[in-house]
C-alpha cells in the first residue's frame, strides 16, 4: 500500500505500522478506511484521553459514568436522568442550518439510545462579531437550524447561552445538550452481547453523506474544507421522531439486548464499539444495508454518516417483534448480521469477506498520545492590568446603556423565542432566568439545567477559568433552588498538536476537575472538539459545562426577576469586583486583559448552600447571580424579567472606582429580593451559613435608579425602565436584522 493512501486518510506512518502489526498483514482499503475514521481524534480521543482521566466521574448518585453514549444519574423514586453535550462546530461553519440541526439530532440519539425519553435540549453558541455579514448569516442559520430540528421533533429547547467575540470568527461553536429521563430498569447499553444474536440496522437509508466527516472535524478549517463540503448532511427530524418512538417502545418491551446510534464514523463505529464493549465480535454484510444511492462501495457504506440510524442487537427470535414495531412507525429495520464470539468485526459484501479486524483495535485500543505542552507566550502580554489602562468614564448612564446593549449582555429573546420551549408542558422556569426548570410528572420533583463557559476567562487563565465554568453552572442551579448533581462538558479548543493550545487544554481540565470535586458534581460524559482554528488562529479555549440539578419539591423554586414592589434587595456573598477579563473592559475600553475574578471554593459553597436553603424556606422572591456585566447589569436583569423598577444605593469604600464597582466582575455573589417580613429570618440564615449580607435598596417605581456614593463623589443612573428594557430587548434583533 502506498504511503499517500494512508496519509490522505489522515493516518500517520506510525499508525500505519501499528495497523500492520495488529493485522499481521497489509490492510485493504475498506479496513484502512475503518481505521482512519476510528483513529481520528473525533472518535478515538487520542490526544485528550489521558488528560480527561483527571475528571472525577463518580459519586453516590451516578449510575453510569463516561464511556457509553451518555452518563446517567439517580434522582430517586426509581428514576434517573441521562444527559450529554456534543459539538457540531465545523459542519455549522459551512452550512449553519443543517450543521446545527444535525448536531441536535445527534445528541438526541445519544440520549434515547440509553433508554431515556429526551425531555429537554440546551445549546451553547459562540460567534464572531455581529457586525460582520457572514456572522449574521451563521448566527441566524444556526439558531433556525436548532429550532427547526428541536421544534419538529417536539423536545423543548429550554436554555443555553450565546456569546460573540472576534476569536470565534470563521469558527463558530455550536454545542448541543440533551437531557432525558428514565426508570432505572430501562437503562440500555451500547453492547453487543450473546453470540448468535441478530444485528439490525434501523431508520434512514444509507447514502454517501458525511464520508470522512470525522476527519473533517479533526482538522483546521481552511481552503480545503471547501472541497470536503459534502461532509455536511441534511437532517430529518421527522424520521428521528419516529425513531425515538419506535426505539423507546422496543426498549419498553424489553427485547433490546444492545443499542447504539450511528454518529461519527457510522457503521464502523457502531459495530466496533458495541463489540468492543460487549467483549464480542460482529459479522455483517453490507449488501443487506438499505441504500439511498446506487453503486455504493463497501467502504462508503461502512463509514457513511447518514443521519437518523440506529444499530440494534436482539435475540434471534425477536427479529419479527422489532420489524412489527418499526412497521407501525413506517420505518425499516433490516437484519444485517449477527453477534460473534471471537472479537472480530467481519464485513462482507454478498457473502464475500471484505474486512476483518479486531473490534478492540478499532475502539478501546486506538492509539493514545501525550502531546507536548508549553506555557503560552501571549499570557505574559495579557496578564498585567493596571487601573491606569482604564480611563474613568465621565457619564455613568451612557456606560450603562452601552453595557446593556452589548450583544453579550442584551436579551437573548431573539434566540429563544424561535425555540419551542414549552412543548411537553413540563417547563416550569422558561428561558430568561439563571437555569431552566422542568417538572417531573408523577412526582413532586423538578430538574434544573444550565450551560456555562466563559471563553475569555479561560483564555486569560485556563486553570481559573476552568474552575469558574463549573462554579458558575452550580451557582445558576442553586439560584433556582436546585442541588447540583453532575456535569457533562464540551471542550472546544484549537489544534492540540500546538503545545500552547495543549497547555490551555490541560490546565482547563485540571481546573474543572478541581471544581467538580469541590462541588461533588462528577463529569458523567462529554465531548472534545479540537482544531477550532482558522488562518487567524485558535478560538478562545472554551469549555462548556452542562450541569443538571435536582429540586425535591418543585414548589420550592426561585427565578431571577423581581416579584413585587416593596421587596428588599440584598447583595449576598463576599468578593470584590475586578475589571480583569470583564465585559466592561472589552466592550467599553476594547481591552482583553487582566486576571479573571478570583474564586474561593469555601465562599462559593457557602453562598450556594445559603441560596438553596433560602429558596427552600420560601424566603426569597428572587435570586440572581452576578456574572457578565457585574452588579450594575445583574440589578437591571432583575428589573427586565420582573417588569419592576428599583431604588438602590451603594456606598463605596477604599480605593474602588464606581465603574468597577458597578461593572467589574466577581464570583460567589448574588442578588436576592424578599418581603420585608422575612428580613430577620434571612439575616439569621446568612449568619448561620457564614455568608455576608448587605441591604442595598428596594424594588419599586418605574425607574432603574442606582446611586453610587463615596466621600468624594456621587454617580447616579436613573433611567425609565420601559426605555432601557426596550433597548436591552431589541439590541440583538437590531444587529441581525439590519
Amino acid at each position: 500500500m502506498k504511503q499517500e493512501m494512508w496519509r490522505q486518510l489522515g493516518l500517520n506512518d506510525k499508525e500505519y505500522q501499528m495497523i500492520l502489526e495488529i493485522l499481521g498483514r497489509e490492510p485493504n482499503y475498506v479496513e484502512l478506511s475503518m481505521y482512519s475514521v476510528m483513529w481520528s481524534e473525533h472518535c478515538s480521543y487520542k490526544n485528550s484521553k489521558r488528560v480527561l482521566k483527571m475528571f472525577p466521574t463518580e459519586n453516590e448518585r451516578t449510575l453510569l459514568g463516561p464511556g457509553e453514549n451518555a452518563g446517567i444519574v439517580d434522582i430517586g423514586e426509581g428514576l434517573a436522568v441521562a444527559f450529554k453535550i456534543e459539538s457540531h462546530n465545523h459542519p455549522s461553519a459551512i452550512e449553519p442550518y443543517q450543521g446545527a440541526a444535525t448536531g441536535v439530532g445527534g445528541i438526541i440519539r445519544d440520549i434515547f439510545t440509553m433508554g431515556a425519553r429526551p425531555i429537554a435540549l440546551l445549546n451553547s453558541l459562540r460567534f464572531g462579531s455581529l457586525k460582520e455579514d457572514r456572522v449574521k448569516w451563521l448566527f441566524s442559520g444556526v439558531v433556525s437550524g436548532i429550532a427547526g430540528y428541536g421544534n419538529c421533533i417536539g423536545i423543548p429547547t429550554v436554555g443555553g447561552e450565546v456569546y460573540f467575540d472576534e476569536s470565534y470568527e470563521g469558527n463558530p461553536l455550536v454545542n448541543a445538550m440533551c437531557v432525558g429521563i428514565m426508570e432505572h430498569e430501562k437503562i440500555s447499553l451500547g453492547r453487543a452481547k450473546g453470540e448468535g444474536n441478530s444485528v439490525l440496522l434501523v431508520g434512514a437509508r444509507t447514502g454517501r453523506d458525511g464520508i470522512h466527516g470525522v476527519t473533517f472535524a479533526s482538522e483546521e478549517l481552511g481552503e480545503e474544507s471547501e472541497e470536503k463540503r459534502p461532509a455536511v448532511q441534511v437532517g430529518d427530524p421527522f424520521m428521528e421522531k419516529l425513531l425515538v418512538e419506535a426505539c423507546l417502545e422496543l426498549i419498553e418491551m424489553g427485547v433490546v439486548v444492545g443499542i447504539q446510534d450511528l454518529g461519527g464514523a457510522g457503521l464502523t463505529c457502531a459495530t466496533s464499539e458495541m463489540s468492543s464493549r460487549g467483549g464480542t465480535g460482529m459479522d455483517i454484510d453490507v449488501s443487506l444495508v438499505p441504500l439511498r444511492e446506487e453503486g455504493m462501495d463497501p467502504f462508503e457504506i461502512m463509514i457513511s454518516e447518514s443521519q437518523e440510524r440506529m444499530l440494534l442487537v436482539v435475540e434471534k427470535d425477536k427479529e419479527e417483534t422489532v420489524k412489527k414495531v418499526f412497521d407501525k412507525w413506517e420505518l425499516t429495520a433490516s437484519v444485517i448480521g449477527k453477534v460473534t464470539g471471537d472479537g472480530m468485526v467481519r464485513v462482507r459484501d454478498k457473502g464475500r469477506l471484505v474486512a476483518e479486524v479486531p473490534a478492540r483495535s478499532l475502539a478501546e485500543e486506538a492509539p493514545v498520545y501525550c502531546p507536548e505542552m508549553r506555557f503560552p507566550s501571549y499570557l505574559e502580554k495579557v496578564s498585567p492590568l493596571s487601573l491606569e489602562d482604564i480611563p474613568e468614564p465621565r457619564e455613568a448612564e451612557e456606560v450603562f446603556l452601552k453595557m446593556i446593549t452589548s450583544p453579550n449582555i442584551a436579551s437573548k429573546e431573539w434566540v429563544y423565542r424561535q425555540y419551542d420551549h414549552m412543548v411537553r408542558t413540563c417547563t416550569v422556569i422558561l428561558p430568561g432566568s439563571d437555569a431552566a426548570l422542568l417538572r417531573i410528572r408523577g412526582t413532586d420533583k423538578g430538574i434544573a439545567m444550565t450551560t456555562d463557559g466563559n471563553g475569555r476567562y479561560v483564555y486569560l487563565d485556563p486553570y481559573l477559568g476552568g474552575m469558574i465554568a463549573v462554579a458558575e453552572a452550580a451557582r445558576n442551579l442553586s439560584c433556582s433552588g436546585a442541588e447540583p448533581l453532575a456535569v457533562t462538558d464540551c471542550l472546544n479548543f484549537g489544534n492540540p498538536e500546538k503545545p500552547e493550545v495543549f497547555w490551555q487544554f490541560y490546565k482547563t481540565v485540571e481546573g474543572m476537575s478541581q471544581a467538580c470535586r469541590e462541588f461533588n458534581t462528577p463529569v458523567i460524559g462529554g465531548n472534545v472538539s479540537f482544531y477550532n482554528e482558522t488562518a487567524k488562529g485558535a478560538i478562545f479555549p472554551t469549555p462548556i459545562v452542562g450541569m443538571v440539578g435536582l429540586l425535591e419539591n418543585i414548589e420550592q423554586r426561585c427565578t431571577a426577576g423581581y416579584k413585587k414592589e416593596g421587596d428588599i434587595i440584598f447583595l449576598v456573598g463576599e468578593g470584590e469586583p475586578a475589571p480583569g477579563g470583564s465585559e466592561y473592559l472589552k466592550h467599553i475600553h476594547g481591552l482583553l486583559k487582566g486576571s479573571p475574578p478570583q474564586l474561593d471554593f469555601q465562599r462559593e459553597k457557602k453562598l450556594q448552600s445559603f441560596l438553596r436553603e433560602a429558596v427552600k424556606a420560601g424566603l426569597l422572591s428572587s435570586a440572581h447571580d452576578l456574572s457578565e456585566g457585574g452588579l450594575g447589569v445583574a440589578l437591571a436583569e432583575g428589573c427586565f424579567s420582573g417588569n419592576l423598577g428599583i431604588k438602590v444605593e451603594l456606598s463605596m469604600e477604599g480605593s474602588l472606582r464606581w465603574d468597577i464597582l458597578l461593572f467589574g466582575e466577581v464570583q460567589s455573589q448574588a442578588l436576592v429580593t424578599l418581603d420585608p417580613q422575612f428580613k430577620e429570618k434571612i439575616t439569621r440564615l446568612a449568619k448561620e451559613k457564614g455568608v455576608p449580607l448587605k441591604e442595598i435598596g428596594f424594588v419599586g417605581g418605574k425607574n432603574y435608579k442606582v446611586e453610587v456614593r463615596s466621600q468624594e463623589m456621587n454617580r447616579t443612573i436613573n433611567l425609565p425602565l420601559e426605555e432601557i428594557k426596550d433597548k436591552w430587548r431589541g439590541a440583538i434583533e437590531c444587529l441581525v436584522e439590519l
Binding site: 459551512i94 452550512e95 443543517q98 434512514a204 447514502g207 454517501r208 453523506d209 463540503r229 459534502p230 455536511v232 448532511q233 441534511v234 437532517g235 430529518d236 421527522f238 424520521m239 439511498r292 444511492e293 447518514s306 443521519q307 413506517e330
Partner: protein, 82 residues
C-alpha cells in the same frame, strides 16, 4: 426589464427528506407510478439590465452569494426579457 426563474434543488447526493415524504404520500394516494420526488425552492427575480449576458452573470452571482448554499444545493435558471 428581465425576469429570472431560478430552481434550487438539494444536490443529488444529499438526503431530501421532503421529497421522500411527498413520494410516500403520493403513493398512498394510489399514484403507484410515481418514482423519485425532489422538493426544492423556486425564485422569480426581476432585474434591470442592459443585455442577457449581464443579467445572467448577475443572477449567477446572486445565487452563489445569497440565494443558495453550494455546500448542499444546486441551481439552474432561465432569463427572459419582459
Amino acid at each position: 426589464m428581465w425576469k429570472a426563474k431560478i430552481q434550487v434543488t438539494l444536490k443529488k447526493s444529499v438526503l431530501d427528506p421532503q421529497g421522500v415524504a411527498v413520494e410516500k404520500a403520493l403513493k398512498t394516494l394510489n399514484y403507484s407510478n410515481v418514482g423519485d420526488v425532489r422538493v426544492g425552492k423556486y425564485l422569480e427575480v426581476s432585474v434591470d439590465g442592459k443585455d442577457r449576458e449581464e443579467v445572467e452573470g448577475q443572477i449567477r452571482d446572486m445565487c452563489d452569494r445569497l440565494l443558495t448554499n453550494p455546500v448542499i444545493e444546486d441551481y439552474t435558471f432561465e432569463v427572459t426579457e419582459v
